[in-house]
Symmetry: C2
Subunit: 346 residues, 2 copies
């Protein structure tokens, strides 16, 4: 996939996506054959792909992306669609093997915008070393001329002995995170219409499958109990899911949670709690207590985990609760909010 | 999945989908835990699923569905999403093993509408015997209060010896179809705003994987060269794809192509050619010449193939062309149109 390649469709002739680009005919085939195939490589068939696998456990995960705006500091909907799905595979303890890409385009979307997104996806997939094997394109009527939704489904293989599940958190387990939080949410908000504020913050959007595999190798697959990427709803909401699934309590030492430079100030301006802000390059990792130090060292030795920290532990009760504890011994319940503070963050 | 079950969410309290239903918090979890889990069964984790497979060839296919209106005679967007993806797996010669479901909901969508669609998906998946193993929900801003897009990705296993590809069509091969065409397109058009005309026609929306497996068993996997479901763009466009991929010509004897009762009249009113109208329960099957009669008999013995017909053959040239021949010896080139006659058919 040649990075920086200009759009292979003649933009003067096709400056914008039309309904016919989703109609199954010549224009859709041109879009597939020239634009998608140039970026993603030739797939064997239009409507499906096949791949050889060894017997074992397959992980499958799917995500639709509707982030607004399409481009934000540190990424765009395309990098998000690839990395988000790769990270969901990573959270299953899986090695990514294949991605699919389903596009819903809005009539009037600039063809150049689509090309930039598709090229970003191809580059992101190349970083992970995972092919985009098949896809689909639909077009819906004009809305604001900037609509693009992407669904990516990921397929991965889970090695023997790996058994990751939210329900596997046990009292005594330690909670780690691979770096500072709240960058993605604040970066997207910083370019939202009507929400312009000064920030140099970039989204943390990154693929974490390789880091997770290194961790599983270093501490042994059975010592890693839970992996979960805290996207929508942030760290607090994800830990609520885990405490509910495992019928236990998670205690977070709030001062140990690294927050991205600049995110705290932005959160104060916007009235947000960084623990509830979306991340796209973070993994919550719950490990057996005697593996916590080894896990931390492994994470810190990896570029995507250099700011990793142990941020809390699992205790017996109150079941289904997440408690935030501060340096002065104060406590608060980190409950699940009804929704995200700002919609369309991913 | 209990068919006819009433919506498990309290409709008085949550009559419509809100942005918070896609926000990752409490309302989204309620939607997943009560609505989706009731219909699809419990998945092991929110963000992914794992399944054991034997070694071999996996087929993977993805499709987004944006059909408008959501409900039409003979089906709805949910049945379409399941059967469409099952049929793409069938077109790979695969036995479906798992589906994923990604929902993009519009703020304001009646919760009851979502429930009816989800229940239809569960019922359609049950007919095929394929589980919906994982999913995703996003919400976008209000548009016309009736927006719902579904992406389904399908995973299947391809048996040894099966080698289906558009490029495998060979001169001499026969072209079969499992029944009458144009029902889906006309059924959807019949309820389109501004296009109301009398028609009792129902969409042919149906899952074809089981029929295809029976065919592969009956005539042997190597005799079946191409399988392709003629959806958007219809039979003519799909055959154009095949003739291009295989560098050959497909000749269709137009009078042998079965057209759904009532579809011809509707097509005349609307100025459409049934050969270009979308189908959702049809498969184009290209087989070795000496297997054509056995293939036809096998199809006709199946409920979804009782009106099957041999409709043409593959010849050497002109390469990349599809020729329609009539009873009087007249010929026309069936070229690919630029788009679908009417958008958002699937």
């Amino acid at each position: 996939m040649p990075i920086g390649l200009s759009c292979p469709l003649p933009l003067a002739q096709y400056p914008k996506i039309t309904m016919a680009h989703g109609g199954g005919g010549r224009l859709m085939h041109m879009l597939i054959d020239e634009l998608f195939t140039t970026a993603f490589g030739k797939t064997e068939e239009h409507d499906g792909a096949t791949l050889e696998v060894e017997g074992g456990r397959i992980a499958i995960t799917t995500d639709s992306f509707v982030v607004k705006p399409l481009f934000f500091p540190g990424g765009n909907i395309g990098t998000l669609a690839v990395n988000g799905t790769v990270n969901d595979l990573a959270a299953c303890g899986a090695v990514p093997k294949a991605l699919t890409a389903g596009f819903i385009l809005e009539e009037g979307l600039p063809t150049e915008t689509l090309w930039r997104v598709v090229l970003s996806m191809a580059a992101a997939a190349e970083v992970v070393g995972v092919p985009i094997v098949t896809g689909d394109t639909k077009v819906i009527e004009h809305r604001d001329g900037n609509g693009l939704f992407i669904n990516t489904t990921g397929l991965g293989m889970v090695a023997d002995g790996v058994s990751i599940a939210a329900g596997r958190a046990r009292p005594g387990d330690r909670v780690l995170i691979n770096g500072s939080i709240a960058a993605h949410g604040v970066a997207v908000m910083s370019v939202r219409e009507g929400l312009k504020f000064e920030s140099d913050l970039k989204s943390d959007c990154a693929p974490l499958a390789e880091m997770v595999q290194r961790l599983l190798t270093a501490v042994g697959p059975t010592a890693v109990h839970v992996l979960r990427d805290p996207t929508r709803g942030g760290v607090a909401t994800t830990l609520c899911e885990i405490s509910c699934a495992a019928h236990c309590c998670v205690v977070i030492h709030e001062e140990t949670v690294p927050v991205a430079d600049g995110a705290m100030g932005a959160c104060e301006i916007l009235g947000l709690d960084p623990l509830y802000v979306a991340n796209e390059g973070k993994m919550l990792i719950i490990v057996a207590p005697d593996s916590a130090d080894a896990a931390l060292a492994t994470l810190r030795a990896h570029p995507d985990g250099k700011d990793a920290a142990i941020i809390g532990e699992v205790v017996e009760s109150p079941q289904g609760r997440v408690i935030g504890r501060n340096t002065f011994g104060g406590e608060r319940v980190l409950d699940m909010h009804s929704g995200e503070q700002l919609p369309r963050i991913c």
